[in-house]
């Protein structure tokens, strides 16, 4: 519930909206029914601000800020749909596609992929950059799940959910820059991990086909990222929501 005493006035693309002190621009937008595209952000997990899809422009200085990691302030004029921002979002998506090996046609998440949906949403119809086509080995050593790093966009949702919700911290990011790669338990095969509880939360929150159930064929993987919001609410408020209530 909105606390009237802590509200501030903001605008999204010139339309008045009400923000609450302490909340992020992204949360504020969603509460007001305004769409700001995002990828790495997931309700129930800490803010990472890594994908930069949710960048917005603030009229004050025209600086670009990630909406997920920027708090609302009084009289904030937030721009979302400007030519500059649309071009940036497209470029970011193209770089994500060029960086890994994203072949939607043969992917387990084809048709149910947040990266794919985002590309459609942002009108990304081709990639202007050279594909890097990296050689990355699949880790299918886990009896229940498969990790295909070719489809990973390093959103770190799996890292955060495993650490913050499950408390196991199996996942982490290893190496730096373009070599950055997700690893399980000190870079051991996932199947040999002693800390993995087989809970499947990492698989549930993965936005692409990078983490999937074993034995799934093309387009058969359905993730359940909203599950984390249910768990987070249940844990913090002792409120047990039905899946439709948490959307």
């Amino acid at each position: 519930m909105v606390d009237r005493r802590q509200t501030v006035a903001v605008t999204f693309d010139g339309v008045d909206a009400e923000g609450v002190v302490g909340e992020s621009v992204l949360e504020c937008a969603r509460r007001n029914g305004v769409t700001i595209p995002s990828l790495c952000f997931l309700e129930g997990l800490s803010v990472w601000g890594g994908c930069r899809i949710c960048v917005v422009e603030v009229a004050e200085d025209h600086r670009l800020r990630p909406a997920c990691a920027t708090q609302v302030v009084p009289d904030m004029e937030i721009k979302i749909e400007t030519p500059r921002l649309r071009a940036y979002r497209k470029s970011i998506l193209e770089l994500l596609f060029a960086e890994g090996n994203h072949v939607c046609a043969v992917c387990v998440s084809n048709g149910k992929c947040e990266l794919q949906d985002m590309a459609v949403h942002c009108g990304m119809d081709h990639v202007r950059y050279d594909y890097r086509s990296p050689l990355r080995e699949i880790d299918a050593s886990h009896p229940k799940y498969v990790f295909d790093p070719n489809r990973c966009i390093l959103c770190t949702r799996c890292v955060r959910v495993c650490d913050e919700i499950e408390g196991a911290h199996v996942w982490d990011v290893s190496y730096r820059g373009e070599q950055a790669l997700l690893v399980t338990e000190m870079n051991k095969p996932w199947g040999e991990s002693l800390s993995c509880t087989w809970c499947g939360k990492c698989v549930a929150v993965c936005p692409t086909g990078s983490l999937a159930y074993q034995g799934r064929a093309i387009g058969e993987m359905e993730h359940d990222p909203v599950m984390i919001k249910r768990l987070a609410v249940a844990r913090s408020r002792n409120e047990w929501l039905y899946p439709e209530e948490s959307k």
Binding site: A105, A140, A217
Partner: protein, 479 residues
């Protein structure tokens, strides 16, 4: 001085190829080679991928017959898992393969080959295609296109999409059939069957005109390979491998598909990306692989089976065998065999759809990785298709081999090109209709070199004449 004629590209086939004909000093045909000039590389880039992904990945080999790859790959996946898939899953896979045979054969006959037969080998190349057919025989063209549409509709209804369907998976089929789908497919069957019968009647009525083509479009003895079952019925999905000779005698039978390497060798040539498989037991080490020449596809399947297992198609088979003199050894009869297979497919499809078991929701078996090696085989419209996978303990591909039907017809296609060239070419003057016959000889096999066809009305065909030193003497272009 010897001369060489190059036909590049060969048109109205699925893929890219060229034909090189070398003439001797007297201008008589000396040799002829059919070469495939496109490279795909599936056997390399599939390495490291999970076996669950293989059906969809290998289906990309082709846009005309992806179902064949889906089935061969899914069957290899079944064997890696070590499961026996539910009987309704088998029936649905059979149905989808029948749909595939109908649509692919309809494409081959109506769209690609019938313009030659109906409009004439000598007709203007600009109209000798499916659009010319629409102008001259609109009703036939319409029915042909609708027949192909019906076959595609069957694939879509069962496997989720017309091309590169996601629904054929290791372990069975992804989704059970609904009553509505069953009714819809049954409603379309009558027209499909009538079109198949009409096309067969039309073709048989024309055969008298093609005596010379029957005698020269690949009329030679060879072995024939196809899947066979214990009842001697026409088989297109399961069973064992069977080779018969040119007289119809069994040469090898009851071969477990997993044992195919004992019987099938693969040779390579410098000038073609298409391998040339041959029947190993007949070729000693270092000898010419032509001794092991065998054919696959409709012609071979009809030579391998005793009956079609469908009343109307069996009647047609009797007439076919009478015309061919028992075992058919002219590749011109591929067209005939294809039409009989379409008819049989409609009949068998009806039997499967009318059986209530087709609605059983149990259509998929699940299991993990239980075996490291497997071979999956299916009868593609163009012939027997092999997928062989070696996987690690987690189901990731370590090595794979695919033997495509068209590859197995490589030696026969080369023999056919030579035979046609010798029959029609005399001297350095090679008129366009003769070139078309050479292409049509290849077309009889309905080779599927990838998934592309020519641009209608602008069939690019370059013919170059070279002397023995490679100097260009003259060249002709059309399109």
């Amino acid at each position: 001085m010897s001369n060489k004629v190059i036909i590049d590209p060969v048109t109205r086939i699925e893929g890219h190829a060229k034909i090189a004909i070398a003439l001797d000093e007297a201008g008589q045909v000396e040799t002829a080679r059919f070469s495939v000039t496109e490279f795909r590389g599936f056997e390399e880039f599939c390495k490291g991928r999970p076996v669950w992904e293989m059906p969809s990945l290998t289906a990309r080999t082709c846009g005309i017959c992806p179902v064949s790859h889906l089935l061969a790959s899914a069957k290899a996946g079944d064997a890696i898992m070590g499961v026996k898939i539910p009987s309704t899953g088998v029936k649905l896979r059979r149905l989808v393969n029948l749909g595939q045979i109908i649509q692919s054969h309809a494409l081959s006959f109506f769209h690609l080959s019938s313009p030659d037969m109906l409009l004439g080998w000598d007709a203007d190349p600009a109209v000798r295609n499916v659009f010319g057919l629409m102008g001259a025989e609109p009703e036939l063209a319409r029915r042909g296109i609708r027949l192909r549409g019906f076959g595609q509709g069957v694939i879509e209804a069962i496997a989720g999409r017309k091309v590169h369907s996601p629904g054929i998976v290791p372990g069975g089929i992804a989704d059970a059939m609904t009553t509505e789908t069953r009714e819809r497919l049954l409603a379309g069957l009558d027209e499909a069957q009538q079109t198949a019968e009409a096309a067969l009647e039309l073709f048989v009525g024309m055969l008298d005109k093609f005596e010379r083509e029957i005698g020269a479009f690949g009329l030679f003895p060879s072995l024939h390979l196809g899947l066979a079952n214990d009842d001697g019925l026409w088989e297109n999905y399961d069973g064992h491998l069977k080779f018969v000779d040119a007289a119809g005698n069994t040469v090898a039978d009851n071969i477990d598909p997993a044992d195919y390497r004992t019987y099938i060798g693969e040779s390579t040539r410098r000038d073609s990306y298409l391998k040339s498989p041959y029947f190993k037991p007949l070729v000693a080490d270092g000898e010419n692989v032509n001794a092991g020449i065998y054919r696959v596809g409709p012609l071979a399947r009809l030579n391998v089976c005793k009956t079609m297992g469908a009343p109307l198609a069996d009647e047609a088979l009797l007439a076919y065998r009478e015309m061919a003199g028992g075992t058919a050894n002219s590749s011109f009869f591929y067209h005939y065999a294809r039409l009989i297979e379409i008819l049989a497919s409609t009949e068998l499809m009806r039997a499967l759809l009318e059986d209530d078991a087709i609605l059983d929701p149990m259509v998929r078996a699940t299991a993990g990785i239980n075996h490291r090696h497997a071979v999956g085989v299916s009868e593609a419209p163009r012939g027997t298709l092999f997928h062989e996978y070696h996987v690690d303990q987690n189901g990731l591909l370590e090595e794979m081999n695919m033997i495509i039907a068209t590859g197995q017809n490589n030696l026969p296609m080369n023999a056919t090109v030579l035979q046609i060239a010798k029959e029609w070419i005399d001297g350095h003057d090679i008129p366009e209709p003769v070139l078309n016959r050479i292409e049509a000889g290849i077309r009889a096999y309905d080779p599927c070199l990838s998934c592309s066809t020519h641009a209608v009305g602008k069939m690019p065909l370059d013919v170059s004449l070279h002397d023995h030193e490679g100097t260009l003497v003259s060249s002709v272009q059309r399109g």
